[in-house]
Amino acid sequence: MKRLALYFLLPSLAVWVSAKETVPATRPANERFGKIQSAEEPSFRRHVLPLMSRTGCSGRECHGSFSGQGGFQLSLFGYSFDKDHLEITADTKDNVRVDLENPEKSLVLLKPTMQEKHKGKERIKKGSWEYNVILKWIQTGAKLDADKTGEFGRLEILPKEVVFKKAGDSVQLRVLAYWKDGTVEDVTLLTRFRTNDETVSTVTETGLVRAKESGDTHIVAFYDNGVLPVPVLQPVTAKNGSNYPKVAARTKVDELVVGKLRKLGVIPSDNCTDSEFLRRVSLDMSGTLPTPDEVTKFLADKSSNKRSAKVDELLKSPGYAAWWATRLNDSTGNNPRRLQAGNQGVNGDTFSRQWYDWIYKRVSENEPYDKLAAGIILATGRTKPEQSYKEFATEMGSYFRNEERADFAGRPNMPYFWQRQNVRKPEEKALAFAHSFLGVRIECAECHKHPFDQWTQTDFKQFQAFFEPIQYGTRPGAKDEEVTFQTATKSLRDSIGTNVAANAVQKMQAEAFRSRLDKGEVLPWQEVFISGNSRPNLTPKQLEALKARNANMAGRVLTPKILGGGEVPLGSMGDPRVPLMEWLRSKDNPYFARSFVNRVWANYFGRGIVEPADDMNLANPPVNKELLDYLSDGFVSHGYDMKWLHREIVNSDTYQRSWKPTASNKLDDKNFSRYVIRRLPAEIVIDAISQATASTEALPKFSANVMERAIGPNVTAYGRGNGARATTDYALNLFGKPVRETNCDCERTADPTLLQTIYTRNDPEFLARIETARRNVPSWIEELNKANSASKGKPVGTDSKPELNIEKLITEAFLRTVSRVPTAVELAQGKADIAAAKDTITGLRDLLWAMLNTREFMVNH
């Protein structure tokens, strides 16, 4: 029987105490291999392969390509030792890649030195130390030594941080590799280096770092399985460190952000105005434009804590729950077209809506995030383990029948994450899980060693093993069950009779399904289940024992590994997602809390502390580690309280900075020294347009009720309506609403495009929204027109013909769109424009059009 063991590869790098620094490192490679006669015997794993990687031989455009080059194929990034060794030493018909008898005639030396024609040009010089590494390796038998070298430990880079004074300055890095056998090698010349921002600093092949423009970034070193970034910084102004002026840091977040700004000599922007704050936080936090009334009241409010009071108010609003449900639906991949349920008379939209509702309820009740995630991760179709098929099917039916429909959101768990058609295979489940709950992209490791992290292909395969038993389909029933999926299927089929044309069966069956559903009958439902689930789950005691055996539950890579004599027999594992969830909840898990914190931060600042927000890897370090640590630790210690996190962020001065730059922060768009202007997200733009154009009576209703909103429950990934149909919402798609089909936060786009501009300038749908009713929401202009025409013929000055107060109308147009009152200049302009128009309402209509087309409306600022 297969035995499954949990083991945790490599603890996080920070945990490694550099006790071995006292061990002297080897001399650098150019000295060790400089002279062929006295050269040491090179190691295949430690020297030859890293050299081939550094010189580009195993790069993607050369022999690392999946089809190789010129018939010679190496593993991308050189981490398949056996395979690469075989490839390098295997002779082809005419050529001898490695010639043990005449080492210098080996093709692996003739080609890169251009002694033989080489499409990849000269990579190394004959007689150089690089040449000698390969030559000596062949002379000493071209041995594969991956087993002998043992496991790689960690990298160290000296200096640990680079601070430049001015452009042009340079620093030489030194890279040491610590092997688990105790060896410490200077691998500077065998390391690949990369800069994360070549405008700030560059790095040469040999590790010479040179300062360019001011700012901060990282240089990343890659050697064997080690990936280590070293921070590089060049202050923007001389007012840094002890010269930094006094900048208030009201909250812990401010303190940590200003701490970084102090190093850079960047002065943050001033605090934003009240009207800017109200508009900004309403849109960012609750996806909703403030109503004109709200703006007026907020500006008139004289209390000193009105901003934090507004935050508390917004956190209770349906807009908050709807917008964050939408974001969680994005990251968990709620897509109706992937939720079609075969022959069942239920379309994907209903599943999709239930998924939304389930999350909405939890966000609005502020259920702890770990509990919310567990409700998805650990979900099965049956809500109780002892549930029979009949009970399960009856319960499922209750969520779909038309009358007295049960509340799906009240279910303890939500299994549709595992039900999607695009996550049927275990590797697809692994990728989706990693994206949704870890904020990690591991797809690279599916085919080759992850280029920016320690994930290897083996790690991926072993991680994937967690997901193999998760199934969606027909769960084998107990022998004595009175009703099973099969009997329910047969009964459904029988109900449509036998005399039915073959091509009509499906339709009739779906109709029968629907009508029986409404009668509350037992129907065939497929379900999410754990295969081979007769075995019991781990008891809490067993789980504790398991955790105790794996003391470091905080490893970056969690892999259940099938070992000959593993500690945890597969049979006792039960649901493998249970230990997976334990790992997520374990103290110092590097991903689970951090990925959520980072995504929430990214929502408020337009970029994550790690950016892209769903791409956490060793080579992509946070721009402010202390900040991410503080928020993640706080989030966990506050019991994964989502509202704590939101408050902590938006109540800071950091969030409330003006968009107006200071002399030193104009170019800073990643250290949070000012509010970076960005386009509103798709759903929010569309809702804002609807709200700003709605009639006086409809506007506050639209704002307060999310049912009709693009962030509300009736809009799936494709927009409103039946996701089964090939229709999508034109405008939502245009403004970059994600369809949630691929595992990437990048599906949501905030880039402006020409088509978006054309939409707000001249699209008939958009123009109609200004002028007429839309989905029973009458428009403001229509309302004014009606009032005006109703009064025609009546004597001027009577109550039925209210005078149009032009100043008031102009002010309202501003409040509706840009959430502020017009300046005196704007008011005068507005009056002149309206006076020049054919009539007042036409003038006002054009003003509303213009305001909706301003960048001030289209962006958050």
Binding site: N196, E741, L755
Partner: protein
């Protein structure tokens, strides 16, 4: 500045620096690049017209007849000769028979995806669909690669293009959708471009003038901030497109000469083809035209005889002839395809079902040598005879006519490098 890194270890240069604007995201920087650099290529094709035969047309009853196949397969139609010796097509395509020297028939095109959506993606992108990636359709790639005109969109879909045509390239390269097929002798209204809802050119100009004055909240910073400056550029371009006389004329079929309109039928498909030629003439880079109804599970022969073939015949023949007469055929690639062929064996309801193993495509213009049949299906039309032509090869050939390197790599937003066509090689005979 966000730094995206690729699976393969290369750092992506996120933003192209154009003038003083260091880009505001991939799409906008691409847009700048297109407008500043343009695409210089030696290829003959400068524009493309993609004709989509939605539903999956039967190859056996259109361009790949099998007169010697058994009754169970052959079908009701006869072959006729064309103006190219040896090149024979259905008797219900008489106009196309008279201009066979203009186009190439690809037979024995073959794949394995028998569902409409999957087949459409494969034939519309040249890449076999996979769940983890959405490939861009031809129009998105072409509008990314070829320089756009200042006043006209580079990609127009008549009447629309279906879902997510731009795939991983993002909405920037999406089509202008006309929403409806044009009507003979009338100007077609185009979503966002045409002045509708009672809006006049004077209104547009007045509003633009107003907008300029009210859009001043950010002061000088609006010129320094990349996002704000970029949005302003789009605003200027949108304004010039809305006002463009050239654009208005291009969409107005009443402005076409009689000698050209006479080449076409009166139905929506013919008029769409006519519009496509006018758009290409005006500088649009990619036009997609669609003719549906090919999903003939029953009554295949009646549908073809009475409706589908005559419509296709008039529209396509008109397209080839008018492009030729306007001198545009050399510089315009025409690519006609459905998502698959149909079962060679006739079913019980006189229909044919989905069949991707053997299908046909028609290509013309853009340096393609017309008047030939490339590839062949076997005796009963059940599969390729000798070599299968893959959708990938067809795609690579299509891009070649436009001077677009199909092996060029794009980087998806998640940082994955993907070739435009991942597995295709151009078909040499097309260019012989």
């Amino acid at each position: 500045m966000a730094k995206h890194v690729f699976c393969d270890g290369l750092a992506r240069r996120d933003f192209l620096k154009v003038g003083g604007l260091a880009g505001i995201g991939l799409s906008l920087s691409d847009y700048f690049a297109l407008n500043s650099a343009g695409a210089v290529s030696a290829a003959k094709g400068k524009s493309a017209i993609f004709v989509r035969l939605a539903g999956g047309p039967t190859h056996m009853d259109t361009f790949d007849l099998k007169p010697n196949a058994p009754d169970t397969h052959r079908g009701e139609f006869n072959e006729i000769a064309t103006n190219v010796p040896g090149m024979r097509i259905s008797e219900h395509l008489p106009k196309l028979a008279k201009c066979a020297d203009k186009y190439v028939i690809l037979r024995g095109v073959s794949h394995t995806l028998a569902a409409h959506e999957l087949g459409t993606v494969y034939m519309g992108t040249g890449n076999r669909p996979i769940p983890s990636l959405k490939y861009p359709f031809y129009g998105a790639v072409v509008s990314k690669e070829l320089k756009a005109s200042a006043e006209l969109p580079s990609f127009v879909a008549i009447p629309n293009q279906g879902n997510y045509p731009t795939g991983y390239l993002g909405p920037e390269f999406g089509p202008f959708e006309t929403g409806a097929a044009p009507v003979a002798g009338k100007a077609l209204e185009v979503r966002g471009l045409s002045l509708r809802n009672g809006v006049t050119l004077t209104d547009v100009e007045r509003r633009q003038d107003m907008l300029k004055r009210y859009d001043s909240a950010f002061g000088d910073f609006a010129n320094q901030d990349k996002l704000l400056a970029g949005m302003d550029l789009f605003g200027q371009k949108a304004f010039s497109m809305m006002r463009s006389e050239r654009s208005r004329l291009a969409f107005d079929l009443s402005k076409e000469s009689k000698s050209i309109t006479d080449l076409y039928g009166q139905d929506g498909f013919s008029q769409s083809c006519l519009l496509a030629t006018r758009l290409v003439e005006s500088g649009v880079r990619f036009v997609s035209v669609s003719i549906g109804g090919w999903d003939t599970h029953s009554n295949n022969f009646t549908s073809l005889k009475t409706r589908l073939s005559p419509s296709l015949d008039a529209g396509l023949a008109g397209l080839f002839e008018s492009l030729h007469q306007k001198g545009l055929l050399e510089s315009t690639t025409v690519f006609v395809t459905g998502e698959f062929g149909r079962t060679p064996k006739i079913n019980k309801t006189a229909g044919r079902d989905h069949y991707p193993r053997a299908m046909f495509c028609v290509m013309a213009g853009g340096g393609i040598k017309g008047g030939q049949v490339i590839g062949a299906s076997d005796e009963k039309g059940e599969g390729p005879k000798d070599r299968a032509i893959t959708p990938d090869d067809v795609a690579a050939s299509f891009y070649k006519t436009l001077g677009i390197d199909a092996t060029k790599e794009y980087n998806t937003p998640s940082g994955r490098p993907v070739m435009v066509v991942r597995n295709g090689k151009p078909i040499d005979e097309l260019f012989a």
